[in-house]
C-alpha cells in the first residue's frame, strides 16, 4: 500500500505492507535509525516519536495509520548549527548514560513541554512515565527536562 508522510519536514511516498510497524518504516524504509526499539511491547518508550506533534510509541502504530500525517523523529530536532534546547539540556545536565532511551526521552519531553510548558518536578516525573531508562536513575533526566523548560520559556519571552 502506498503511503505519504512528511518526516522532519520532508515528504516521502513509499510502498509498505499493511503490517509494517511505524518504527520499522522509520528505521528500515527511511533509514532514520535514531529512533530505537527497546521492548517492542509498548512499554519502554524508546521508540517514541511525534505524530502530528504528539508523542506516540511507534512500535504500536502501523505505518499505514500514519498516511497523510507529519512525523518528527530525533533527527528532526537539531538545526544545522545548534542542538535543540531539549537536546542541549540533556547534554548539559548529564541526562543520559548509555543513551539508548534518549531519543525517546527527548521526543516524549518535546510533546510533554508543549502540553505543560512550566512543569513542576512531580509533573515531569509523571509526564515521562511512558519512558524507561536502565542507566540514569532518572534524576538527571528530570533535571534536564526542567532545564529545557526554563530555556524554552526563555526563548518564547
Amino acid at each position: 500500500m502506498q503511503i505519504t508522510t512528511v518526516v522532519n519536514g520532508k515528504s516521502f511516498t513509499k510502498d509498505v505492507e499493511p503490517r509494517t510497524l511505524l518504527v520499522h518504516y522509520i528505521r528500515d524504509v527511511l533509514g532514520l535509525t535514531g529512533t530505537n526499539v527497546g521492548c517492542d511491547t509498548s512499554s519502554c518508550g524508546a521508540c517514541t516519536i511525534l505524530l502530528n506533534g504528539e508523542s506516540v510509541k511507534s512500535c504500536t502504530v502501523l505505518a499505514v495509520q500514519a498516511d497523510g500525517l507529519e512525523l518528527t523523529t530525533i533527527e528532526g530536532m537539531a538545526s544545522e548549527s545548534a542542538l535543540h534546547p531539549i537536546q542541549k539540556a540533556f547534554h548539559d545536565n548529564h541526562g543520559l548514560q548509555c543513551g539508548y532511551c534518549t531519543p525517546g526521552m527527548i521526543m516524549a519531553t518535546a510533546s510533554f513541554l508543549k502540553e505543560n510548558p512550566a512543569p513542576t518536578e512531580a509533573d515531569v516525573r509523571e509526564g515521562l512515565e511512558g519512558n524507561l531508562c536502565r542507566c540514569t536513575g532518572y534524576h538527571n533526566i528530570v533535571k534536564s527536562v526542567l532545564a529545557a523548560a526554563e530555556a524554552m520559556e526563555g526563548a518564547v519571552k
Binding site: R19, D40, T41, V61, S111, E126
Partner: protein, 270 residues
C-alpha cells in the same frame, strides 16, 4: 515482532466501515490500536482485515446535550482528560482517562476502543459502568442503544456483533461526589484493582480487575441504600466477584484490596 499479514482499509465513514465488516469474513475494526496491535504482534489475534476508523472525524467529539454529554467513540483518552465540558460536568471521567497508561498511550487510545475491547482490567469501562452510561451501536440494519450495565458479557466479550460499531457514549451528568482509586505498583501499570464511585442521590460503585468484565459492586450499593455504614458496605466489596490470580496478585489479595479501596472511594465520594 510484527503481526501476521492482513488487508487494510481506511474507512471514510461509519456506513462504509459497517459495509466492509458485513462483507469480509474475520475483518476487525482498528481504533487507536493500543489493545489490538499488541495482541496481533503476539499473534494472539490475526484478523484477515483491519478497517481503520481511528481517524474518522465524525466519531471524535465531546458535546454537551443538556442532561448528558455525548462522546464520539474515537475520542482519544488525551482529549477526554483535557475536556473542559467533562471536567465541569462529569469530573470522574477525565480523571480516569488521565490515569490510563502513559501520555503516549493516551495520545492514541480511544474511549470507544477501550469499551469495545471490554477488558475487565481497563479503567474507562469501569468508569462508564459506574456512571450509568449508554452506548449507541450502529449495525448494517439498525442502530441500537445499550446500557453499560448490559454491554459487558464475558472475558473480552461484549454484546457487539462482528458487524456492529460503537459510535457514541452517552454519559449522564451528575452533581455529587465521586472517586477513582487505582492501585498499582509501578508508573504506567494497569490497575491491580481499581474502584470508581459516584454519589448522586444513590451511590454506584464499580470495580476494575475483579472479574472477567468490569463489575458493579451490587452488594456494596445495596448495603448503602439500606443505610449501612461505609465500613460495613465496603466489607461486601468482593461479594459475587471472581477476581483473577496473576503475576501481580492472587485472587485473595485482590479481594482484600477491593475492600480497602472501596472504603477509600466511599470516604471520598459520599
Amino acid at each position: 515482532m510484527f503481526p501476521a499479514s492482513f488487508d487494510y482499509a481506511k474507512a471514510r465513514s461509519v456506513a462504509e466501515a459497517i459495509s466492509i465488516l458485513s462483507s469480509v469474513e474475520d475483518a476487525k475494526l482498528l481504533a487507536g490500536g493500543h489493545s489490538l496491535l499488541p495482541l496481533m504482534k503476539l499473534r494472539l489475534a490475526s484478523p484477515s482485515m483491519l478497517v481503520d476508523i481511528g481517524s474518522l472525524a465524525e466519531l471524535s467529539y465531546i458535546e454537551d446535550k443538556g442532561d448528558y454529554v455525548a462522546i464520539g467513540s474515537m475520542t482519544r483518552h488525551h482529549d477526554i482528560s483535557s475536556s473542559r465540558v467533562l471536567k465541569s460536568e462529569i469530573p470522574l471521567l477525565p480523571y480516569v482517562a488521565s490515569q490510563v497508561g502513559d501520555p503516549q498511550v493516551r495520545h492514541r487510545g480511544t474511549i470507544g476502543g477501550s469499551i469495545s475491547h471490554g477488558d475487565g482490567a481497563s479503567d474507562l469501562p469501569a468508569a462508564v459502568l459506574a456512571l450509568d452510561a449508554k452506548f449507541v451501536v450502529a449495525g448494517p440494519k439498525r442502530e441500537r442503544i445499550v446500557p453499560a450495565t448490559e454491554f459487558f458479557v464475558g472475558f473480552l466479550e461484549t454484546v457487539l456483533s462482528p458487524d456492529e460499531l460503537l459510535t457514541e457514549i452517552r454519559v449522564p451528568k451528575f452533581s455529587g461526589g465521586w472517586s477513582f482509586q487505582k492501585f498499582n505498583r509501578r508508573a504506567q501499570d494497569w490497575a491491580i484493582v481499581g474502584v470508581a464511585a459516584v454519589n448522586d442521590g444513590g451511590t454506584r460503585v464499580s470495580l476494575v480487575n475483579m472479574g472477567p468484565t468490569p463489575m458493579r459492586a451490587r452488594a456494596v450499593e445495596e448495603a448503602l441504600a439500606d443505610g449501612a455504614s461505609i465500613e460495613t458496605a465496603s466489607s461486601k466489596a468482593s461479594e459475587g466477584m471472581d477476581p483473577p490470580t496473576d503475576l501481580n496478585a492472587s485472587s485473595q489479595y485482590r479481594r482484600h484490596l477491593a475492600e480497602v479501596l472501596v472504603k477509600r472511594a466511599l470516604t471520598e465520594a459520599v
